[in-house]
Subunit: 264 residues, 2 copies
């Protein structure tokens, strides 16, 4: 048993979908979410710079006595996961390997689609993680740059999202995929429209859900679960504007957040 | 639901520990075990030759309509898993990745020991699989060439095994490991003496058990479990002498096998 909190971070609000998934799997755990909103988005920045941010935030979270860290950000995972694992003495999980694993377990025809930001898709990190588990899987990936805006409510009319989704997803369907990885922490917000577009025969794999399962398995097997004697309490910290994070994160989390703190 | 059998193979009798673990996790599944005893051991053979054997046996098992194949052999996994996955259209699992995953989930101090045959240890396949999941884990590995003889009852007096185990395992303890992967399908037979030697504070990870969990998760998530309407029936096929396999496999399986067939 270990009652220290689990730390989760992202460049913005997207990682809140991972917080939600962890709360569902592990309702007794205390969580600390760190949203580096002042430097959002990480995608266009040089990987070395992103790695520096990953290290800074890991240090901050370790200062808060977290027992495990989740880099709930695909760019952050690609840029900094391995070096952070080497550098820090707490378990650190990314979102890419769990998502890849969930898809490899689920696919029947061994044709997996991956959608994500341009940076994530161009890094080929999902392709590598999938092929490490099953070298015979065909991967078809596509960047969906406009999805983040739609997830944050800036995308335009409701009709537009359907058109955009079709434009992004039909080429993946043409490739015969039976499983689709939502390879960006924002995408679970768009789950319904994505499922409607690809049809019910395609299994959607949420990296957020798969990462929550991995967090659970890690805490269970290491004997690090919270004993549940105290009501779980969550803490949200941002580097940028607190008000806009508060509004958005509530829609991502599906419930109220009482307070957002500013990082000092 | 899918009532086709699960295929499991090894160069000899060692993989029967994987059969036992699968029977415990999935008691409704039909199993086919293929022991390539005429060509045992694979360890000293060139990897290309072993890969050819892996392909031959996969073809044979697919001819028996298996729904999933387990390469229950570390050398076979290192030599042929990736190419077999690319070449055949059924899911194929090895024993290395599941063992590595189990250890990474379990370790608290992130120092993992690996024991196996000389070939497995020199291939560094476990080191790679562990570091793909947690780049910060320290791996200390050691070849234990005499353990296979002891597992098959040819090792010598009971006293000898304790001395041999100490010689192999004390250097790993000196490196501070808290988790030890039994990286050879023979080693679960020696579990008690290994646990006694390393002490109760070291967690033993059996690749056989972890692989059985992976088989279960794959069948569950793909909807391929047996419906359980028929009593499970297992089939054992060997390329070499049937009588010696029968005797040995019963001690590995912990129960009687009614019949061993010869491969044609």
């Amino acid at each position: 048993m270990n009652n220290n909190p689990v730390g989760v971070f992202d460049s913005g609000v997207g990682g809140v979908t991972v917080v939600k998934a962890i709360q569902e799997e592990l309702p007794r755990e205390h969580l600390i979410y760190f949203g580096d909103t002042a430097r959002f988005p990480y995608g266009p920045r040089p990987l070395d710079e992103v790695k520096k941010y990953v290290f800074e935030i890991c240090e901050y979270l370790i200062g808060q006595d977290v027992k495990l860290i989740v880099i709930a950000c695909n760019t952050g995972t690609a840029a900094g996961l391995k070096d952070a694992q080497k550098n820090f003495n707490v378990p650190i999980l990314g979102v890419i390997e769990p998502g890849a694993r969930g898809a490899v377990l689920a696919t029947k025809n061994r044709k997996i689609g991956v959608i994500g930001t341009k940076g994530t898709i161009e890094s080929h990190a999902y392709d590598e993680a999938i092929h490490a588990l099953d070298a015979g899987v065909e991967v078809k990936s596509g960047a969906c740059p406009r999805f983040v805006d739609f997830a944050e409510g800036r995308g335009g009319q409701d009709g537009d999202i359907l058109e955009v989704a079709q434009e992004y997803l039909y080429p993946l369907l043409d490739a015969g995929i039976d499983t689709l990885i939502l390879g960006c922490t924002h995408y679970p917000i768009l789950r319904d429209v994505i499922q409607q577009t690809v049809g019910s025969s395609v299994t959607l794999i949420s990296s957020a859900d798969e990462t929550a399962l991995e967090v659970k398995e890690t805490l269970v097997r290491r004997g690090l679960l919270n004993d549940g004697k105290n009501h779980p309490h969550d803490k949200f910290i941002v580097t940028g504007d607190r008000t806009s994070f508060l509004t958005l994160s509530q829609s991502f989390l599906g419930r109220d957040i009482s307070k957002v703190e500013e990082a000092v």
